[in-house]
Symmetry: C2
Subunit: 183 residues, 2 copies
C-alpha cells in the first residue's frame, strides 16, 4: 500500500518481515498474489460488511460509497486497477482476484436486491445480474479509464439511474416536445 | 489478430513484413503500440462509423451491437482487454489507447445523445457523461471480469435501463405490494 504494486518487491517484503525471500516464496508464488492476499486480509473486516438499511438505495450506498472513496485514495485505487490488469493475463491470479474481490461484493449486492424484492420495493422479476453490472460497471470504468472523477455524486447518479431503470417496464419513449402539436 | 497480444512478437512482424526488426522499432517502440496502431487502422473505416437512425435507441444499438459482437470474437476481445491492462501501467500507451479507442467511441455516442436532446426525445438536462459511463461501463465490465456473457441481450438490457434511467426524474420508490393496505 505504501509503494503500489509496481514499486513493491519480494526483497522489501522479506526485509520488513525479518525473514528470507525463500520463505516468502514458499507461501506466495509472486508479488501480485502476495499483494492480493494481503489486501484481502486487511479489507475483509472493514470494507465488506453488509448493511441492511431498510431500503435498496440505502443498502447500495452503504456498499458502494465507502468502496469508491477508497478507490479514490492512492495507492489503493491503482492497486485494484493493477489487479484487474494482472487478471487479464494470469489465470491463477484471475481466479483468486475474482474469488476475493469480485464475488463477495456481488454477493452482498445480490442480498440487498433480494431484500428489496422481498419488501416489494422492486419487481420480483428484476434481472439482478444485469443490475449488478449496471452498478459496478460504470465504477470500474472510471477507475480503469480515468476519464472522469469517481466522486460521491457519480455513485449517487449511477444508483439513481439503476433504481429508475428497475422500477418500471421498458417505455416506448415518445417525444415530449411541442413540435408535433397541430400537425 | 491471429495470435493475440501475448503471442505476438516483433520478430514475427518483421518476418511477415519482409523487413528488419530495427526498421519496425524505428516506427513503433513496443509490440503493444504496434498492435494498437494496426488495430486502429483496420477498424477506423468499418467499426467506428456513426449511424443516425432517428431514435436514440436505434443509434445506440447501431453503435454498440457491432462492437460488442466483435468483442465476443477471439482474439479481438482479449486484445482489447490486454490494451486496457497495458494502459494501467504505461502512460504513453494509455494516451494512445484512449485517443484511438475510447474517445472516438464516446464522441459518437455523445453526438447520438445530442441528436436525441435536439429531437426532445430525452431531457435537455441529461448528464451525457454519466449516461455514457452507464452504457460503456457494464460492457467493459463483462469484457474484463468475464463473469457473464457479452450477449446481444445484455446490450439491449443495458440500453433499456439507461433509456429508462434518463426519461424521468428520480423517484422516491414506494413499495407497490399490498402489505400496507388496510393498516
Amino acid at each position: 500500500m505504501e509503494e503500489g504494486l509496481a514499486g513493491a518487491s519480494m526483497d522489501a517484503v522479506a526485509e520488513r518481515a525479518g525473514t528470507s525471500k525463500a520463505t516468502i516464496y514458499r507461501w506466495w508464488p509472486a508479488k501480485e498474489v502476495l499483494a492480493l492476499e494481503a489486501l484481502y486480509q486487511s479489507l475483509s473486516d472493514t470494507d465488506q460488511r453488509e448493511a441492511d438499511t431498510g431500503s435498496l438505495r440505502g443498502d447500495l450506498e452503504a456498499l458502494l460509497l465507502p468502496w469508491v472513496r477508497r478507490l479514490g485514495t492512492r495507492p489503493y485505487g491503482r492497486v485494484i486497477a493493477a489487479f484487474v490488469a494482472e487478471a487479464q493475463t494470469d489465470p491463477v491470479f484471475d481466479e483468486r482476484y475474482r474469488a476475493h474481490f469480485v464475488e463477495p461484493r456481488r454477493q452482498h449486492a445480490k442480498a440487498a436486491f433480494a431484500r428489496a424484492i422481498a419488501r416489494h420495493e422492486i419487481p420480483a422479476g428484476t434481472d439482478v445480474e444485469v443490475a449488478l453490472d449496471l452498478l459496478y460497471g460504470p465504477l470500474y470504468h472510471r477507475l480503469l479509464h480515468r476519464h472522469a472523477p469517481l466522486s460521491d455524486r457519480f455513485v449517487a447518479d449511477v444508483i439513481d439511474a439503476v433504481l429508475r431503470g428497475l422500477s418500471r417496464p421498458v417505455p416506448q419513449l415518445p417525444p415530449y416536445g411541442l413540435e408535433d402539436v397541430g400537425r
